[in-house]
């Protein structure tokens, strides 16, 4: 597997990735979190990474973002090895990770400010992105003055603002109620589908329905040590609407994914 010619059309390529953590009980033991982890994403593809809790989804995502090192295999973005943080990979963390001392607007401006975008331009751009996520009215509020769903939208706006080519999401909607969650899934799709150039998206989730609704493809992981066990193409037409959720195609894929997951662990088959 290692000697094969790397597929040049892939935006992201992960080959035989291994990640080992030393055991907490300092007796020289190890804990293999990822082993033989393979995953490719084509440019502009929306892929969900689905798997039982603790299988290493966040670990891979952090490796891809350059926040974690890896202990074997290759992780390439645009054919180049990931070494350190790559600012072309925008990350939306599970816990929002907004700067609590900055207003929504200033949070969204952060990535632009770091890139040296002049003040007036970044204000305009941030206001535009906040409008896209429906938060113009909350621009001058601090994160703790926003609801959970609003904070998550600010976090999404913050990565959208500086236009990284790759977006990775780590269970961004996990902490939200079902209605807000479905609403934001719709918003995210609308923004992604209407983008000038389709961004490549890796979306980590626990929820089968969320994965189907959003993705072109679902990669299902095994329980520890984690690797990608199976891929399911989601051939539902785009743009997707809330009707897509009740289509027969949706139900068929859900049953298929649930079967694969159940073989792995019994984590149920709906939103959790």
């Amino acid at each position: 597997m290692s000697a094969q010619v790397l597929n040049r059309t892939a935006k992201i390529e992960a080959r035989n990735v291994a990640k080992i953590y030393p055991d907490a009980h300092a007796d020289g033991g190890f804990h293999t979190v990822l082993e033989d982890f393979d995953l490719d994403l084509r440019s502009g593809e929306f892929v969900s990474l689905l798997g039982p809790s603790g299988c290493g989804k966040s670990t891979f995502l952090n490796i891809l973002a350059g926040l974690e090192t890896y202990d074997g295999g290759d992780v390439l973005v645009d054919g180049r090895h990931v070494e350190g943080v790559n600012s072309d990979v925008g990350v939306v963390f599970q816990s929002y990770a907004l700067f609590p001392w900055l207003t929504a607007q200033k949070n969204v401006e952060a990535g632009l400010k770091i890139r040296g975008v002049p003040r007036a331009e970044r204000r305009e751009r941030a206001a535009e992105v906040l409008r896209t996520v429906g938060l113009s009215a909350a621009a001058n509020r601090l994160p703790h003055q926003l609801s959970g769903g609003m904070r998550q939208r600010v976090a999404i706006a913050r990565v959208l603002a500086y236009e990284p080519e790759i977006l990775v999401f780590d269970e961004p909607f996990a902490a939200l109620d079902a209605q807000t969650r479905e609403f934001l899934q719709g918003e995210l799709l609308r923004i992604w589908e209407s983008g000038r150039t389709r961004k490549t998206v890796l979306f980590v989730t626990h929820s089968i329905d969320e994965a189907i609704f959003l993705s072109d493809r679902i990669a299902v992981m095994t329980q520890s040590p984690g690797r990608v066990k199976d891929h399911i193409e989601v051939d539902l037409p785009r743009p997707r609407t809330s009707q897509s959720r009740s289509s027969t195609g949706f139900a068929r894929i859900r049953a298929q994914v649930a079967r694969i997951l159940e073989e792995e662990v019994h984590i149920g088959n709906g939103d959790d």
Binding site: A65, S87, R115, L142, V159
Partner: protein, 279 residues
């Protein structure tokens, strides 16, 4: 039935307005209690001398103290000595503030630094200032340098020790999210670690501000031309009891002023936290 009972009761009796609290008392409550406490203190002070419990050779009356203070202000003798003291305190405190925070962030965020520095820091952090006075004097003489150095020393440790701990408390995810946004070291230091840790810097900064004058007066008592410590010392040589207490009063007032400034700075710099914490 219910209607019958309501009708039986006259309207004016049925609605009893709550007594409105006295607006003046609500607003000035704190000051009134404070003023009463202060008056009580002054009365007690006056009484112990008036009754002859303490000789006015050792303790001046409040009137004499205030009189000495006002005439000291009027003839310029107190400002002449307070000026240099304030200047030394401000310079020393500012140097310590910058050094303490910069080094605190470095040691706090680079684990190797912390490991190297720990034993040395453990030794110095609680070392008595008074024991070090002769060392400072030996190296720097009794002029400005040694006095400012002592203030720096006294202010540096609380700020630094506190900053190291505060930096350790900054959430990893905030730093990671800044890194993925493309931030470099300098941006992370100044725009993430500093604001995130700032609220936790303040206990150390306030302690340092309080230390500044204490250390300074100790240094001035060693000698020198001008300063509040010297003012008090000279008054004591001349047995001018009211002047001694006027000097102490000046120091006390400066302390109140410093405290107010620190509280104001803290409120301003951590204003984003309002509503987030119980403060």
């Amino acid at each position: 039935m219910a209607t019958a009972t309501t009708e039986a009761v006259p309207a004016e009796v049925a609605i009893r307005r709550p007594k409105r609290p006295n607006a003046f008392l609500v607003k000035y409550d704190r000051y009134l209690y404070g003023a009463a406490g202060l008056l009580g203190f002054l009365a007690l002070w006056w009484l112990v001398i008036n009754r002859g419990l303490i000789d006015s050779l050792y303790l001046a009356t409040p009137q004499d103290t205030v009189k000495a203070f006002l005439s000291g202000l009027a003839d310029g003798s107190i400002p002449a000595d307070a000026g240099p003291s304030i200047q030394r305190a401000v310079i020393g405190f500012s140097l310590a503030l910058v050094a303490g925070i910069v080094l605190g962030i470095l040691v706090g965020s680079i684990p190797a630094f912390g490991k190297f520095a720990e034993p040395v820091l453990l030794f110095f952090r609680n070392l008595s200032l008074l024991a070090l006075l002769p060392v400072f004097v030996a190296f720097l003489g009794i002029d400005e340098e040694s006095k400012i150095a002592i203030v720096v020393w006294a202010c540096f440790w609380p700020i630094f020790i506190n900053a190291v701990g505060a930096v350790g408390g900054v959430e990893r995810i905030l730093i990671n999210s800044a890194r993925t946004l493309g931030a470099g070291r300098l941006y992370i230091f100044t725009q993430v670690v500093l604001p995130a840790a700032l609220p936790s810097f303040f206990p150390g900064i306030r302690l340092a501000a309080a230390n500044a004058f204490t250390a300074l007066v100790a240094a001035e008592l060693v000698g020198g031309a001008q300063g509040l410590g010297i003012y008090i010392n000279n008054a004591s040589y001349r047995m001018q009891t009211p002047q001694i207490y006027a000097g102490i009063l000046t120091l006390g007032l400066l302390g109140v002023l410093v405290n107010a400034l620190m509280a104001g700075a803290e409120r301003y710099l951590t204003r984003w936290q309002r509503g987030l914490t119980t403060r």
